[in-house]
Amino acid sequence: MLSLHLSQLDVQLLKLLAAAMLLLSFAMLSARRTQQLITLFAWQGAVLFLSTVLVAHEAGLPELYFSAALTLILKVITLPLILHLLIRRLGAQWDNEQLVNIPVTMLAGLVLVIFAFGLAQPISLLATTVTRHIIGIALAVILLSFLMMITRRKAVTQVIGFLAMENGLFFAATSATYGMPMVIELGIALDLLVAVFILGIFFFQIREQFDSLDLHHLESLREE
């Protein structure tokens, strides 16, 4: 069943979606405004949803439709909505982050992509799925989200980076093994939701304490 033949057009489309995923990761890496970042995150979720539906359709796996629906509800609608509300309540929607030199970050990102592609080559040879070439891109998305978290200093963006990383993981799972078992997926979804709630509460605490969401204030908490 796994070696089902995907039609030429669908492969093309899937590649296109994978490429769009990568492009969105880079867009997130270079986005300055928090609000922009949330929108990009929602778009990433949408691409993820589409590609999952495509894989589900082509591989004939009905359970993948469930995870696609989960993605749509959680990552395209709920989480961005919560985040939007959150930053509005925090008054952070116009936060403008002073990033480290964007071209340099981009170059670092490129190197990461090449690294991820190189790393994925042996894995994709082992995998049997039709989507195995996309593993490299999924890996790159994970690494890029990590890079985004490193270069940011605001609390909200850290969370978005974290969520984007999960997107990458999910994408990797879909492309490498046609998704994770349903139980695990549901668990992760619930975890994410809870995490966002808890982190939201944290934001309010941080802002209360330091009058800002800038994480460098947390540096003063260390023991001297």
Partner: protein, 317 residues
């Protein structure tokens, strides 16, 4: 016969280029709810400029006076090389896409040198900004052509159009990446928003206008004509790379050529509207955000390359 086509195509490019610029200006005006200048505005301006006396700075050197002619000639040569209507062109083999980058660089260097000749502050300010945009744009455009090479195995525009016609419509993701990067470079290289504003005379922001400040009358006319030809050439390169359908192939008859001409005009009209749309929707960037913009163009092109290398290796999975 081929030379006739060649000659006709060059004349067509020279004649259409001001119209194309006029069309973009008109679309922009419509989109911005202004009343548009007539389509022929560019021609009227050229006629007016040609009839005026040249006001030449006292210390202008021969280089300053020769540069407009050289600029115009390089752009005409580029128009001769780029297959816009037919591919059966004797000069098309004189340069591949990479050599075309070199040709545009020649024009840029001449324009910058001429701008420095009088020794006013604006001139050299414009010159160094122009050169800066140039060195940022060149890696990006090279990567676009690299993408094209990986897809079609050639950087020669004529062969590229032929190959494209023989393998119809493979939507490779890298094509889309390359196209985005190409449009970004096109905007930067042709002094359009968001890098430069062709309609500005505000000192702090201008690039192209600062360079041509000392030119007047026929010299200015040639410079302006050359820059509209440059935009036209870029649009034609973009068409040859990404939308080559309709260009008449080697040895086709009159009907196909007429069809190709119609196709070209439709494509140019769409491109022009698209450019006007982009210019309307975006704001002019600060000059030191230009590196970021072009770095993004470069990045997108490289991503296309990488995606192609990873995904394109085995299309049937």
């Amino acid at each position: 016969m081929a030379f006739v086509w060649q000659f006709a195509e060059v004349i067509l490019a020279i004649a259409l280029a001001p119209l194309f610029v006029g069309w973009i200006a008109q679309c922009r005006a419509w989109m911005q709810s202004r009343s548009a200048p007539p389509l022929t505005q560019q021609y009227r301006m050229l006629r007016k400029l040609f009839s005026k006396d040249v006001a030449l700075a006292q210390n202008a050197s021969p280089l300053f006076r020769a540069a407009p002619y050289v600029l115009f000639a390089t752009m005409v040569l580029a128009a001769a090389i780029i297959p816009s209507v037919v591919t059966d062109l004797p000069f098309a083999r004189a340069a591949d896409a990479i050599a075309l980058i070199g040709l545009f660089a020649t024009a840029r260097v001449f324009q910058s040198l001429a701008a420095m000749d009088i020794g006013t502050s604006f001139g050299s300010l414009g010159a160094r900004r122009e050169m800066m945009v140039g060195f940022l744009a060149e890696p990006a455009i090279l990567m676009v052509f690299f993408n094209a090479f990986l897809l079609f195995g050639t950087t020669d525009l004529t062969s590229l159009v032929d190959n494209h016609a023989s393998h119809p419509s493979v939507i490779d993701p890298s094509v889309i990446f390359a196209a985005i990067a190409f449009v970004m470079v096109l905007l930067a290289e042709n002094a359009r928003i968001p890098i430069d504003n062709p309609a500005t005379h505000l000192e702090l922001t201008m690039i192209h206008e600062a360079m041509v400040l000392e030119y007047s009358a026929r010299h200015l006319a040639l410079v302006e004509w050359a820059s509209s030809l440059k935009l036209f050439n870029y649009a034609c390169i973009g068409i040859a790379l990404f939308l080559p359908w309709g260009i008449a192939m080697h040895g086709e008859h009159m009907g196909a050529v007429l069809l190709a001409l119609a196709a070209l005009i439709v494509k140019l009209a769409l491109c022009g509207a698209g450019l006007a749309m982009i210019e309307t929707l975006s704001a002019k960037l600060r000059i030191f955000r230009a590196p970021e913009f072009l770095a993004m163009a470069f990045l997108v092109a490289v991503l296309g390359l990488l995606v192609h290398l990873l995904l394109g290796a085995n299309p049937n999975a």
